[in-house]
């Protein structure tokens, strides 16, 4: 679709620009300001230049060690949940009923976890996993597994991962389902005439058609899991020890717990920069995919 060049369109965009600038640019400027300074309380600030950034990227210091450790944990977490949620989401999407009222029922049930406040997601799993009052914890302990997410690192990790799978696999499934629905019936008929196996149909027809939605799903899941805060915070509080302390949890500890403004600000900027880079990849991929798609589907 060809758009007309019209600079007056800026007037239409201005309100959005102002609102987002007020809530994004102003705070970000404060962060940049803090990141160069040190504070000893009483609103006294001292110039620290790039000191915090050096410390942040040096694993031998306290700050750097904590940051890099939480970053490592966070990346590992993101990779694990992607490795589980993407295949599981595809399988669930392929298992959707074909038609009738069950489609709507499945869609609604699938979407339910997505609409639960994040702290309540945490609460649900906090309760569900407790050995004394939660069904999951009770059953696991009853069949002889020594499961306790409060004291055992591995149990805490498993709980946080299962919780995320519970919370977000539906998103992947719903996106894939949307991709699958756009495949014309004729493709399947052609495959049937060719005598293609179930696996061949999946590889040659369904997977290529899901490419775009899968990309969106992977990137969205990566971003959101990389920013995760509330759910693990409610369930494990970052513990036991620091074993489930992700970047956001570490940042909030430093910023609002210790009120170490300089350190927190430097961490924020590096964190934001990583997000920005991933975001740029996301944007490029999406707009490119959009351009490829447009000639086929017209203006819709």
């Amino acid at each position: 679709m060809d758009k007309t060049v019209n600079q007056k369109a800026w007037f239409l965009v201005l309100p959005v620009f102002l609102v987002v600038a007020f809530s994004a640019v102003l705070p970000l400027m404060t962060v940049v300001n803090y990141s160069m300074q040190d504070t000893f309380g009483n609103n006294q600030f001292f110039w620290n230049g790039v000191g915090w950034f050096k410390e942040l990227l040096d694993p031998s210091t306290d700050l750097g060690g904590r940051f890099l450790a939480s970053l490592g944990r966070n990346l590992f977490f993101s990779l694990v949940i992607l490795a589980i949620e993407v295949p599981l989401g595809i399988v669930v999407a392929l298992s959707m009923p074909r038609d009738g009222w069950t489609v709507a029922a499945c869609l609604v049930t699938l979407a339910l976890p997505l609409l639960i406040p994040w702290n309540v997601v945490g609460t649900i799993w906090q309760i569900f996993g407790r050995p004394d009052i939660g069904l999951l914890g009770y059953v696991l302990n009853h069949i002889g597994l020594d499961y306790n997410y409060v004291s055992n690192d591995i149990d805490a990790w498993v709980t946080v991962i299962v919780m995320d799978v519970w919370h977000w696999t539906s998103l992947v499934a719903l996106l894939c389902y949307a991709g699958l629905k756009s495949i014309p019936e004729a493709y399947y008929q052609a495959a049937q005439i060719d005598g293609a196996s179930r696996w061949a149909v999946f590889k040659a027809i369904q997977l290529p058609k899901m490419n775009r939605v899968l990309l969106i799903a992977v990137l969205l899941r990566f971003m959101d899991s990389f920013m995760i805060y509330t759910e693990p915070f409610v369930v494990t509080g970052g513990g036991p020890g620091n074993s489930t302390t992700f970047v956001s949890i570490e940042l909030v500890k430093i910023a609002l717990g210790q009120f170490d403004l300089g350190k927190a600000a430097a961490l924020s900027l590096v964190y934001n920069l990583i997000i920005l880079i991933v975001c740029w990849i996301f944007y490029t991929v999406m707009t490119n995919a959009g351009n490829e798609r447009k000639p086929q589907e017209g203006a819709a």
Binding site: K3, T4, V5, N6, A9, V13, P15, V19, S23, A24, P27, T30, V31, V91, V92, L94, S95, M96, P97, R98, A104, L107, V108, T109, L110, L112, P113, L114, L115, I116, P117, W118, N119, V120, I124, I127, F128, I133, L135, Y138, W166, A178, V201, Q206, I216, A217, L220, M227, V247, S248, I249, L251, V252, A255, N272, I275, C279, W280, Y283, A299
Partner: protein, 268 residues
């Protein structure tokens, strides 16, 4: 659409996996604390409404819901009203910096709330909005305005340009065209965008909790109060949790065909 063998079983198992933890929460909200702690029962043997009664009669509890709804509604209204003209501009015109602006909006949708918690606290304290619903509503704009722009842009692009041109030929002024013709045409899109603004503002806790202390405390923050010297009040916590799920569960039926689109920022 062709499905895989054993799909009913897979779907059934997955739905059970999704519903079981929610069922457990609901189950617990109808139990007395005595029953919760002393025995493991799969359904409430002595069902009670005491936790719900407590929430609906104790002001510190139900005001949490009202506070949350307040900032969520303000945020939805702000987000949609500023996003509508912008979505139209992005959909119809090319202008200086449009692509960069679109990307900048997306990058804000992706920004971690933890980064903004502290600066927001300072900013809203400085302008005297701290502990009001406006602070949270404005703070949530950082991810909801971009979301609304992205979703609405998709819907506006679905409206043929000929409609704009005909309206202008018929002598409609721009504001009149916008309100009388465009808005009704994309009404379902506005509904979807509003739903997602509502949802994302409703589920967010970190910013909402950081920007309020007493008067505008959201329900999510009130829920942390169930920890007391006498131990956890599990039944009350469960009941409060169940009540936060209800707004989403009520409206989800109406947007069921747009869920994927909304979560994918309108790019489907």
């Amino acid at each position: 659409m062709h499905s895989i063998p054993g799909r009913r079983l897979i779907m059934g198992l997955f739905l059970i996996f999704l519903l079981l933890p929610i069922y457990w929460l609901v189950n617990m909200s109808f139990k007395t604390n005595g029953e919760i702690i002393s025995t493991m029962t799969l359904w409430p043997h002595a069902p009670t409404l005491q936790h719900y009664r407590r929430i609906f009669t104790d002001e510190s509890w139900y005001s949490g819901y009202i506070n949350s709804l307040e900032y969520v509604v303000i945020n939805t209204i702000i987000s949609i009203s500023v996003a509508l003209p912008a979505a139209y501009a992005f959909s119809r015109y090319r202008f200086l910096g449009d692509k960069h602006l679109f990307f900048w909006l997306l990058s804000n949708r992706m920004a971690p709330a933890a980064v903004y918690a502290l600066p927001f606290f300072n900013l809203y304290s400085a302008i005297g909005l701290f502990d009001t619903p406006w602070a949270v509503a404005l703070a949530h704009c950082i991810f909801n305005v971009p979301l609304a722009v992205w979703i609405l842009e998709g819907f506006v692009s679905g409206v043929p340009r000929e409609i704009d041109e005909t309206a202008f030929l018929d002598g409609y002024s721009f504001p009149r065209f916008f309100i009388r013709i465009l808005v009704p045409l994309i009404a379902s899109g506005i509904g979807v965008a509003a739903f997602f603004c509502f949802m994302f503002s409703w589920v967010e806790l970190l910013l909402a909790r950081t920007l309020t202390s007493v008067n505008a405390k959201p329900i999510a923050a009130v829920m942390t109060r169930t920890v007391s010297a006498a131990g956890m009040d599990w039944g009350l916590l469960a009941a409060a949790g169940v009540l936060t799920i209800i707004p989403g569960a009520l409206v989800i039926w109406f947007v069921r065909n747009y869920i994927a689109r909304g979560f994918a920022l309108g790019r489907l």
